[in-house]
C-alpha cells in the first residue's frame, strides 16, 4: 500500500490534534485527503469541498509540485511522497481599529 506524509499548515493543525505532519495511506491526493478526514473528522470540509475537490483557496503540493495542474484530487502520489498543504494567507495582525471594534 502506498503511503505519504502530509505537512499541515498552522491554521489547520487545531483540527488534527495539533499534528504538523501525518503519514497516511493512499495512492492519490484525493485518497490521502479523505483518509485525513476519516482520521480527523474535524478536518471535513476544510480542504475538500462538498464535491470532493480541493478548495480553491488551498493548494496541495506533491513533492513540491502543485497537484492542481496534475489532475487535482486524481493526481497520483508515489510511495513515500511528501504532500504540502498551503492555504491562502491574508497577511498580518489585525488593524488596531478592527481589533477594537
Amino acid at each position: 500500500m502506498t503511503s505519504a506524509t502530509l505537512h499541515l499548515p498552522t491554521p489547520l493543525r487545531a483540527f488534527c490534534d495539533g499534528h504538523d505532519t501525518i503519514t497516511l495511506e493512499g495512492a492519490t491526493v484525493g485518497e490521502l485527503l479523505r483518509a485525513l478526514e476519516r482520521e480527523h473528522p474535524l478536518m471535513a470540509g476544510r480542504i475538500l469541498d462538498d464535491a470532493g475537490q480541493v478548495r480553491r483557496f488551498v493548494n496541495v503540493f506533491v513533492d513540491g509540485e502543485n497537484a492542481r495542474a496534475k489532475g487535482g484530487v486524481d493526481a497520483g502520489v508515489a510511495d513515500g511522497a511528501e504532500l504540502t498543504i498551503v492555504p491562502a494567507v491574508a497577511g498580518g495582525a489585525p488593524r488596531a481599529d478592527e481589533r477594537r471594534a
Binding site: P87, A88, A90, G92, P94, R99
Partner: protein, 389 residues
Amino acid sequence: MSASRERLDALRRALGEVEPRAAAGDADGVVLDVREPDEVEQGSPTGAVRVPKSFLELRVEEVLPDRARPVYVLCAGGVRSLFATESLRALGYERAVSVAGGFARWKADGLPFEVPRVLDASARARYGRQVILPEVGEAGQLRLAESRVVLVGAGGLGSPAALYLAAAGVGELVIVDDDLVDRSNLQRQVLHADARVGRPKAESARETLAALNPSVRVDARVERLGLDNVESILAGADAVLDGTDNFATRYLVNDACVRLGVPNVHGAIFRFEGQVSVFDPARERGVAPCYRCLYPEPPPPELAPSCAEAGVLGVLPGVIGCLQATEAIKLLLGVGEPLVGRLLHYDALKQRFKELSFAADPACTHCAPGAAPELEFVDAAACSLGAGA
C-alpha cells in the same frame, strides 16, 4: 631626465600610441576610458567603456571579455593610459594601445563625446559596496535610482522592505496605508516609533526613510486602496510590493497589476509561517502565473478565523519582507531568477524553507491569454482559513 620621464618614454617606444582620430575611426575597436569617475562625469568619448585605472585589473575582464579586440586606452593627457596599456598587455590584451594626448586631444580634434550619466560622489560613497558587484555596477545603481516601487501597506511586511529598498537607493517609494500607528504595531513594524503612535503610518514611514536616505523620494499616501484609486496609484510602478493584511486588497492589487503589466511581489504571514512569490504574468502570458492562478478564490467567511486569533511572531514579517525586498531589487536590476511560478514557504519554528512550484492556470479569469476583466471588489474574510472556526 627624471626616472619617471625615462620610464614613460620607454613605455611609449615599447607599446606605441595611436592618434585619437584613428581610435575613433576603428569600428571593430573599443575605447577604454580609465579616468576617475569625477573626470568622466565632465565628458567621455561616446560609447566608451569606463573603468577607473585603480580598478582596471580587477574589472577589465568582465567588461571586455574579448582579448583579441583592439582596445584604445584613454586618460586625460595620455600618461596614465600608457601604464594602463602596459597592464592590459600583461593580462593578454595584445591589441591594447594608448591614445596619444588623451581626452584633451580627443575633444580638441572635435571627436564625439558624451556626458555620461554617472553616480555623484555622495552616491558612490553610499552605494559603493553594491556598485562593486558586477550584477549591479554603476548602471544598475542608476537604474535603481530611476525606479519606482509601490508598497501597499506600511506594516509588518512593508516596514523591512521599505527600509532596504530605501537603503539600496530605489529612487521613488510610494507608501500606501490609511492606518495609524498603534503601540501594538511596534513589535514588528520597525518603520515606526513609539513617539509616533496615533500618526498615519504612511507619514511615519516617510520620516524614517528620509532619515535613512534623504535622496529617496517618498510619496506617502494616507489612503486605502480601492477600485477608485488602485490603478492611478499603481500605474507607472516598476514593481509593487504587496504587504497588505486582507484578502480584498490582495485580489485588488493582483488584478490591477495584471491589467497594468506590473510585477507583484507577494508576501503573506500567519503566526510562524510565511509565503513569498512573484506574480508577473506580463513576463509571459499563459506561462507566468498571477495570484489568482494560485488562489482562484478567497476563503469564505465560515472558514476564516477572526484576525485577532491569528497572531504573528514579530520577526517573521522581517524575514518575509526582506525576501520581498530582495525580489523587488532583482526585478529592478533584471538579475537572477525571480520567484515566478514558485512559492517560497517559510516555517520559522522548524527554520525551514520549502520551494513549491505552480503553473499559470490556463483558465485564469484574469491573466489567461485574452482575459481582460474589469476591476471588481472581492468581498472576503480578513485573515485565513481554519483556526478560529
